[in-house]
């Protein structure tokens, strides 16, 4: 990924093509805006001339045709400008959203789902909307204001200088309102995030709330967030909406001067000699300018709103992306005197084991013996002491560069996609989908589903049973060939026949990797190549028969008792 810091400007430069179309069509359109009033004046004049028999009907036909064609050209330019500005904004939303999503994929884990959602959805939209408005108004306000200003100066430059004192005052007012507007918009955004979080909580846990009969309490709780949201939105909305009329009032103080001084011009007592038409045109022109300048002040706020959003998402977009790691090479696993303390209490001690590809190592032990933690040292960096090496390289160091294992944990971690997609994740591996489906004993389940492996698992795998979801996760762990296969409690929610089927498949078809089978169901352990019994300083490694002979704790556990029970 590119290293340079992302700025709002970069989204403009990235799309210079549509913006070039916008610029050309925008300038032609806005300069052409003056053509309409000019033609309309000519049309009225022509009608007067025809009525007074000074010209012929043919002149009117030519003029009307010219008028319609000119408007067509100008409006076509307007269409191009509008379409491309929107294209630009739409593309920006797409880019922003997918960049935010990529940040989520590669960055640190975000705990605040509701906030991530608001950021991704609402802020990206606000940003793009602010950029669209900014781009539009540069032409519709900027260029048009220049055209109108030229006309005003041409009619009476002294009056124009006086009259132009007031529109800038509107900008001063806008600047004064900047802080309260920014604050209230930020507060409203915060309330939106909180409300989204509450919405997520209310809907995702709806069935839990139902079975406990507390839905009324939840609705009352949710109502508090709604109330807060309403108040914050009203405050921000009123400040923004009330601003524009206020700007207009300030700029229209000038009308007093125009009517007084311009009227004197018509009376022949002023700086310039005016007729009625000049008076009307000047007044109309200034009226349009005042409206435009009040829009411009409003635009100021829209840009600010975009800035607030931008500053919220900028850190997310600019955080460093972790590169996708390579898969480690296969090799022997060697653990020697591994120890790990958690919260200053020793959890794992004197752990040693060796395993070659094709072997299955059962890992068990009494409660809180650190079985799951041992499994996780191959997933994430855990500061253990001693050594764990794969193919002669230390696991801790390997984890920075490569992926060591596939893993089935307590949570199935499925996506709202088809069963097949959940297993292959769009990747081609050595094994076929059918093979792993069979090995995870999913084939009988698939026969009952309408679309077989293409059946959707639904949101949070709700369309599968808990056992089916676990076996889909197992099939995925089997599908991806890694030096290590770590299965944390794969038999937790399957019956004995299924468990036996899976174990047989593991032994027959996965000779290319080392399998660590973490389990508290020991009935299958005699069939495994070796067993690691974790129990503090009583930790032992050997074959099942060896441990039965040497380790009273393991023996007791195997016979169904508690190793520590006196």
């Amino acid at each position: 990924m590119e290293k340079e810091e992302k700025s709002l400007r970069s989204y403009f430069t990235a799309q210079w093509k549509p913006l070039a179309v916008v610029t050309v069509s925008g300038i032609i359109y806005n300069v052409g805006m003056a053509a309409g009033p000019w033609f309309e004046g000519q049309l009225a004049q022509c009608l007067l001339n025809i009525l007074e028999k000074k010209t012929t009907y043919f002149t009117m036909v030519r003029l009307a045709l010219g008028y319609v064609l000119t408007i067509f050209l100008v409006q076509f330019m307007r269409y191009l400008k509008r379409l491309y500005v929107r294209k630009f904004a739409n593309r920006t939303i797409l880019t922003l959203r997918s960049q935010l999503y990529y940040a989520l994929l590669t960055g640190q884990k975000q705990t605040d789902i509701g906030d991530v959602m608001t950021k991704a959805l609402s802020d990206a939209d606000d940003c793009a909307e602010g950029m669209r408005k900014f781009t539009t108004e540069i032409f519709d306000t900027g260029v048009v204001m220049v055209v109108y200003l030229c006309m005003l100066f041409a009619y009476d430059w002294r009056l124009t200088l006086l009259v132009l004192i007031f529109p800038p005052l509107a900008y001063v007012l806008a600047a004064g309102l900047k802080k309260p507007v920014t604050t209230s918009v930020a507060n409203a955004k915060k309330a939106t995030g909180e409300l989204n979080k509450a919405t997520l909580d209310r809907t995702q846990n709806a069935l839990t709330y139902r079975i406990f009969g507390v839905e009324d309490s939840q609705n009352r709780h949710y109502e508090r967030y709604l109330k807060n949201y309403e108040q914050k939105q009203i405050k921000a909305g009123v400040l923004i909406n009330v601003a524009e009329p206020l700007y207009y009032i300030v700029s229209s103080i000038s009308f007093i001067l125009i009517i007084y001084l311009g009227g004197k011009n018509v009376l022949g007592q002023g700086w310039q000699a005016w007729n009625l038409a000049a008076f009307s045109t000047y007044l109309a022109c200034f009226g349009k300018l005042a409206v435009k300048s009040s829009h411009a002040a409003n635009l100021f706020n829209a840009v600010q709103k975009a800035e607030v959003s931008w500053h919220r998402i900028k850190p997310l977009l600019n955080q460093e992306a972790a590169p996708t790691k390579q898969v480690a090479k296969s090799g022997d696993l060697q653990i020697k005197d591994l120890a790990f303390s958690w919260d200053q209490k020793p959890l794992l001690q004197k752990v040693s084991l060796t395993a070659k590809p094709g072997q299955i190592v059962g890992i068990t032990g009494p409660v809180a013996c650190g079985k799951s933690t041992l499994g996780r040292i191959f997933l994430e960096k855990i500061p253990y002491k001693g050594s764990a090496s794969l193919g002669g390289q230390e696991v801790k160091d390997l984890l920075d560069k490569v992926v060591l294992c596939s893993y089935q944990g307590h949570q199935p971690q499925l996506f709202s996609a088809s069963i097949a997609d959940n297993i292959t994740l769009g990747q081609k591996e050595d094994l076929t989908l059918d093979q792993v489906l069979g090995d995870a004993d999913l084939t009988p389940d698939l026969k009952e589903m309408p679309n077989g492996a293409d059946t959707e698992v639904g949101d949070r795998a709700q369309l599968l049973s808990g056992g089916q979801a676990a076996r889909v996760a197992l099939a995925r762990a089997l599908y991806f060939k890694r030096p290590l296969l770590v299965l944390d409690d794969p038999f937790a929610s399957v019956d004995e026949d299924t468990a036996q089927h899976i174990l047989a498949a593991l032994k027959a078809n996965y000779q290319d990797r080392i399998t660590l089978l973490i389990s508290h169901r020991l009935e299958f352990f005699p069939q495994l190549d070796s067993v690691l019994y974790l129990d503090g300083d009583q930790t032992r490694f050997g074959t099942h028969a060896e441990l039965i002979a040497e380790s009273p704790g393991y023996r007791k556990l195997f016979e169904g008792g508690e190793p520590n029970a006196k």
Binding site: G114, N196, A206, I211, F212, S252, F255, P366, D495
Partner: protein, 557 residues
């Protein structure tokens, strides 16, 4: 699918009905504003007419008067805008409250079908579109339409022929508007659907980051997300086209009309009486034509908002009229309460027949009686129907035939207020809610005191661990606060905090090591003392004294 005809109008009417005073005030301000807006041009006309005959002194007063009329108009506009905001926010608040109330009435199957992503989208995105509409579009449109009628009347009074010509053009503009609207509407619907799907991907990704990193699925997920975004992008391009093309076409039609009017007006001869106007009137009519199309094209500008809101409100209306589960019956509940001490079985299932909507039959005339105080374990292969039976007992699904009674009460009509005292359910996984530790257990139920929470924690053996937390019951709980086993114990504490008479344990031993399992079983033994216990298990040895019931496909014992 909606059971009866879902009308967005009804939704609005109901919400507006909650704020009659505010709505009346808003209407009053709008009327005042429309009337006041007529004043400045009128005043300006008078000033222009008298310009050649006036004095400098009078000019100054005219200028001040004109400014005063502008000030009044704009102040009223500011008040109007402010009130629209307040009104819009109150209405959207009301609609969201109604939607929250609806959540309670939806059957459990709705949640499985729709998924939380699209529910969230209904609450967030769809209501947002309404909020946008309330805060700008709708009110201004009404004022605009009123001014269109005024202008048509004025032009007719100047020239009947030109008036008729104008009336011929209005339907053209109208038809064009409708056509664009339809196209835009379809695009908006597609966009909303795509956005709802995209919303679902985010929380899912957060929860499954480990898997994504492990299987190097970053680019798959990015592709997956972008595919959904692209759908939204394409739909947006459609509606952008509509949005861009509308207003330029309308202004072009306006130019054609203006050109045509002046051509007809300058025909002279026999047409003079029908189309003839003076040059002054021509200037006025050109201005009027501009004015009559401006409101129409500003409606066009709002097309996107209006269409989005129409699509959003239709979905909200569908949601609000979705089929509801049977209502709880409080009075019946009270009767049953009195009877409860009599010898009703804890659970009585008679002739239960149930199949899923996809036709998979789970129970066929199934019967089961569990007496008070019994400990019963359900056994069977995955997918045989153990969890389904639980959901039926919990009243989440309605059986197609037969009945399920808890202590003599039909679970389908069991009132919420009694639910927790009757039974507690230990769910398969701990559902972490957005709240502090106390709330994790009480689920914000005001009837459960801190003392009861501590008692529940004591029973499951978590009290010491909680006392060690800096904020005790007020500690914020995340997935990292407790170990997996402790989370499972919290699930039990949640289930027993209201001291129910019947406990349901779903797959109690899943995902736990043996010692935690033992701790859990001991906690369960303490918790279920003197209570009826029904549990799901894959292994039979766990509850030594209990009765074991085998659940098979197509149960009909």
């Amino acid at each position: 699918m909606p059971s009866k005809k879902a009308s967005p109008i009804k939704v609005f009417a109901k919400a507006i009905g909650h704020y009659p005073g505010l709505t009346l005030c808003l209407i009053l301000v709008i009327v005042l504003d429309v009337v006041a807006a007529l004043a400045p041009p009128l005043l300006l006309g008078k000033i222009v007419d008298s310009l050649t005959t006036t004095s400098a002194q009078l000019l100054l007063y005219s200028g001040l008067a004109y400014f005063a009329s502008l000030l009044l108009t704009k102040l009223l506009e500011a008040v109007r805008e402010g009130m629209i905001t307040v009104w819009g926010e109150k209405l959207t608040h009301e609609i969201r409250s109604q939607m929250a109330a609806k959540l309670k009435k939806l059957p459990a199957s709705y949640y499985a079908q729709e998924g939380s992503g699209s529910l969230v989208s209904r609450f967030v995105n769809d209501v947002d579109t309404l909020e946008d509409l309330f805060s700008s579009g709708i009110v201004n449109m009404i004022a605009d339409l009123a001014s269109v009628i005024g202008i048509v009347v004025v032009i007719f009074s100047k020239s009947v022929g030109l008036g008729i010509l104008l009336l011929l053009f209005l339907p053209i503009v109208w038809l064009f508007t409708v056509k664009i609207q339809q196209k835009s509407y379809r695009a908006q619907l597609d966009n909303r659907e795509a956005i709802a799907d995209a919303d679902r991907v985010l929380p899912e990704t957060t929860a499954n980051l480990l898997t994504i990193h492990l299987y190097r699925a970053q680019s798959f997920m990015k592709h997956h997300y972008e595919k959904i975004l692209k759908r939204s992008f394409d739909a947006m391009q459609q509606s952008n086209f509509c949005d861009s093309v509308y207003s330029p076409v309308v202004i072009f039609i306006q130019a054609v009309l203006t050109g045509l009017m002046l051509l007809l007006a300058s025909l002279g001869g026999p047409w003079q009486s029908f189309f003839g106007i003076s040059a002054g009137t021509a200037v006025a009519i050109i201005a009027y034509v501009g004015q009559v199309f401006t409101p129409l094209s500003s409606i066009g500008m709002e097309i996107q908002n209006i269409q989005a809101a129409a699509a959003g409100s239709q979905r909200i209306a569908n949601f609000l009229s979705a089929e509801e589960r049977p209502e709880e019956t409080e009075s019946l509940g009270n009767n049953a309460k009195a009877e409860r001490s009599n010898s009703h079985p804890a659970i009585e299932i008679k002739d239960l027949t149930f199949s899923y909507p996809n036709g998979k039959k789970i129970f066929d005339h199934f019967n089961l009686v569990i007496r008070e105080g019994e400990k019963v374990t359900l056994k069977g292969r995955t997918g045989a129907g153990k969890s389904t039976l639980f959901k039926l007992i919990l009243g989440l699904y309605a059986p197609q035939g037969g009945s399920i009674k808890i202590l003599g009460q039909d679970v389908q009509t069991l009132p919420d207020s009694q639910r927790r005292q009757l039974y507690g359910c230990v769910e398969q996984t701990f559902q972490l809610i957005d709240g502090n530790l106390g709330e994790q257990i009480s689920l914000r139920d005001p009837a459960i005191s801190d003392q009861e929470i501590w008692q529940a924690l004591e029973t499951v053996g978590l009290a010491d661990a909680v006392k060690k937390l800096p904020d005790g019951l007020n500690s914020h709980v995340t997935n990292a606060t407790f170990s997996h086993g402790q989370m499972q114990l919290l699930t039990i504490a949640r289930a027993i905090s209201a001291k129910p008479r019947l406990l349901l344990f779903d797959e109690i031993t899943a995902n736990l090591d043996r010692e935690t399992e033992n701790r859990l079983l001991k906690a369960l033994e303490r918790a279920s003392q003197g209570k009826t216990l029904l549990s799901i298990s894959h292994r039979t040895e766990l509850l030594k004294d209990g009765r074991i019931i085998e659940i098979k496909r197509n149960n009909h014992n």
